[in-house]
């Protein structure tokens, strides 16, 4: 590095590539361990998944090239995939934006409290997203007989006369899963917002007040949001990726397969083919579609958010 500094920036571009690489050898060496692992465990798997999606592959014989067959079958012949895709998009469209708004709303309200209360509230709201599969406690709430907490409460209030089999009734499965997913969704994005709010320069609020900002809502819109745009972008990535990947809660609360596949998502369908039926080519096609959906949505939303306040 000290050497590169000595070369005038314009001349630097004229150096032969080999000498540029040699001058920066320390940088490349430092990055090597991470990026070698990153290549083998992230980049290569994505590429392999794309490649395998054009094959029939059962892990025993060598993959056989089948062209677009897997995709054609997925989109035209697989009714369950269509249900799964619909459910995943429903999760993405509902829990994505709502959880994003909730992260922002709660972070903003929490920011109004004194530091001690703020730390406590942060913990309460963030805890569900890190408590592992302890969300299984929802099984107790949703138990289908009279012993379930929700049924017990509704029976006591005379709203129900019979207990409801929440997780075995098709029309309740998705709404209940959406509620549980929202409960779980105040994760890394939420922390980023809390931290971001504290970095907004206090002087800007005072200046805004002088400029005629009258209430907290205007303050939020004109001062706070533009100031924390980088965090808003990061939070969006977190919430979008999470909302497309819903699977564990569906499997553990509604079962896999769930009643009439009402709780199926693209990921549960992927797990079904990848770990139960061992049709890896087909599972890879599902994974590739999921990859394109997630990355495409993220890129699109990034583009939109970049325009905010411009």
């Amino acid at each position: 590095m000290s050497l590169t500094k000595a070369v005038h920036p314009e001349k630097y571009h004229k150096l032969p590539m080999r000498s540029v690489l040699w001058r920066n050898r320390a940088s490349y060496l430092m990055m090597a361990p991470y990026f070698v692992l990153f290549f083998f465990f992230t980049v290569l798997p994505v590429l392999m998944s794309m490649g395998l999606s054009f094959t029939y592959f059962n892990m025993l014989e060598a993959p056989k090239f089948v062209g677009w067959n897997n995709y054609v079958k997925l989109l035209l012949d697989d009714d369950i995939f269509i249900i799964a895709l619909k459910n995943t998009l429903l999760f993405a469209v509902i829990t994505g934006p709502i959880s994003y708004m909730l992260c922002l709303l709660f972070a903003w309200i929490i920011n109004e409290f004194s530091p001690k209360i703020r730390a406590f509230l942060t913990l309460v709201f963030y805890a569900p997203s890190i408590c592992g599969n302890a969300y299984m406690v929802w099984n107790l709430i949703l138990t289908g007989d009279r012993y379930g907490y929700l049924n017990g409460l509704l029976l006591k209030l005379d709203i129900l006369s019979e207990p409801i089999l929440w997780m075995q009734t098709e029309k309740y499965i998705m709404p209940v899963l959406i509620v549980v997913q929202l409960w779980l969704s105040l994760g890394t994005g939420f922390l980023s917002f809390i931290a971001g709010l504290q970095t907004v320069d206090k002087g800007m609020y005072e200046a805004a007040a002088i400029d005629g900002v009258k209430n907290r809502w205007q303050e939020l819109y004109f001062v706070t949001l533009p100031a924390m745009k980088p965090q808003l972008m990061f939070g969006a990535v977190m919430q979008i990726t999470q909302s497309f990947a819903v699977a564990d809660i569906s499997i553990n609360l509604a079962g896999n397969p769930s009643v009439n596949y009402a709780g199926a998502t693209v990921v549960t369908h992927l797990l079904d083919y990848g770990s139960t039926r061992l049709d890896m080519g087909y599972a890879s096609a599902i994974a590739t579609i999921l990859f394109l959906l997630m990355v495409g949505t993220n890129k699109l939303v990034q583009k939109l958010l970049r325009r905010v306040g411009e």
């Binding site: 692992l37 730390a119 963030y126 709430i141």
Partner: protein, 305 residues
């Protein structure tokens, strides 16, 4: 706008020292009583909704068996007992593989994952944050891209690669992929970027090489980020039962053994409640201890173009 002159008179005041914080809090600009009440109510309702399942986890762990199967169900325990935890210990002692082995496995896997990840990701983050070289933007952009999809997408090929490497059914099958966790590199790089360049420049003038600068100047200055990477890594690894890669019973982590107990049915409901409590409590306690470091790291988490 009648308030305006008052606001102006307050504006130029210097930042309040901490002991005056309470008074400064009361004088916050643009805060109406009605707004405060509304937000307080919203916060209260949502707070109860968020906390209720956690409260249930705590209470269930303390309930004697007859209260777990009570009708109508009650959230709060009436005769708290530690019976469930002693049941859990009995079950643990009965297990086929000694329970201490599962705990040791979890310690090896999570410590190996956390330490390696912090070192490998910090090493890569330093040049990305502070050096200029060809390929830098491209490398960082693929890491950012990796934040945009979940690991399920890569699961099948990852399994195949781990088999080819011959590390299937070893601790490394869980540890090595964890080292290249994208979020860690991202957060570390963003955090290192805010270190002043003069810090490194003066070390360079004194003849330090890049490795020395990394180890003696950069690393001591990013301690909050180490903790954050370690905690996030722990959160990722804690819930993993490892059953995809680890077939030998004596290699499996604690999470696997705990989940076996919860699957034990009615007679083990008490112990299962204790297990759920343990599973939830461990990551929450870690977060609680490191909360301020994590939030400090997250202040730089934003995505610049």
């Amino acid at each position: 706008m009648a308030k305006l002159p008052e606001n102006i008179s307050k504006a130029p005041q210097p930042i309040q020292p901490p002991k005056h914080r309470l008074r400064a809090h009361k004088r916050k600009l643009n805060r109406s009583m009605a707004g405060n009440t509304l937000l307080f109510i919203v916060m209260g309702i949502c707070g109860v909704f968020m906390a209720l399942p956690l409260v249930m986890i705590i209470n269930n762990a303390l309930k004697p068996l007859d209260e777990i199967y009570q009708f109508p169900p009650r959230i709060f325990v009436r005769n708290p007992t530690l019976e469930n935890f002693s049941d859990l210990f009995v079950l643990m002692n009965d297990s086929w593989v000694p329970f201490s082995r599962y705990i040791l496995n979890t310690i090896i896997i999570t410590m190996g994952g956390m330490l390696g990840h912090v070192i490998v990701a910090s090493l890569a983050a330093y040049p990305l944050a502070k050096h200029k070289f060809p390929g830098k933007d491209f490398l960082f952009s693929i890491v950012v891209l990796s934040l945009m999809f979940s690991w399920t997408v890569t699961q099948i090929p990852q399994y195949m690669i781990i088999s080819w490497m011959g590390i299937n059914n070893t601790y490394l099958a869980l540890i090595l992929p964890a080292w290249s966790f994208g979020m860690g590199l991202y957060l570390m790089k963003q955090f290192m970027e805010q270190l002043p360049d003069s810090l490194m420049e003066s070390a360079r003038l004194q003849g330090a090489n890049e490795w020395q600068i990394f180890w003696h100047i950069v690393m001591p200055n990013v301690k909050p980020a180490w903790l954050t990477l370690a905690i996030f890594q722990f959160q990722q690894m804690w819930g993993n039962t490892g059953s995809l890669f680890l077939r030998n019973e004596e290699l499996k982590p604690l999470q696997f053994a705990l989940q076996q107990i919860t699957a034990g049915g009615v007679s083990r409901a008490g112990a299962a409640a204790a297990v759920t409590f343990v599973i939830a409590a461990v990551p929450i306690i870690f977060f609680l201890v490191c909360q301020s470091s994590i939030l400090e790291t997250m202040t730089t988490s934003g995505m610049k173009d």
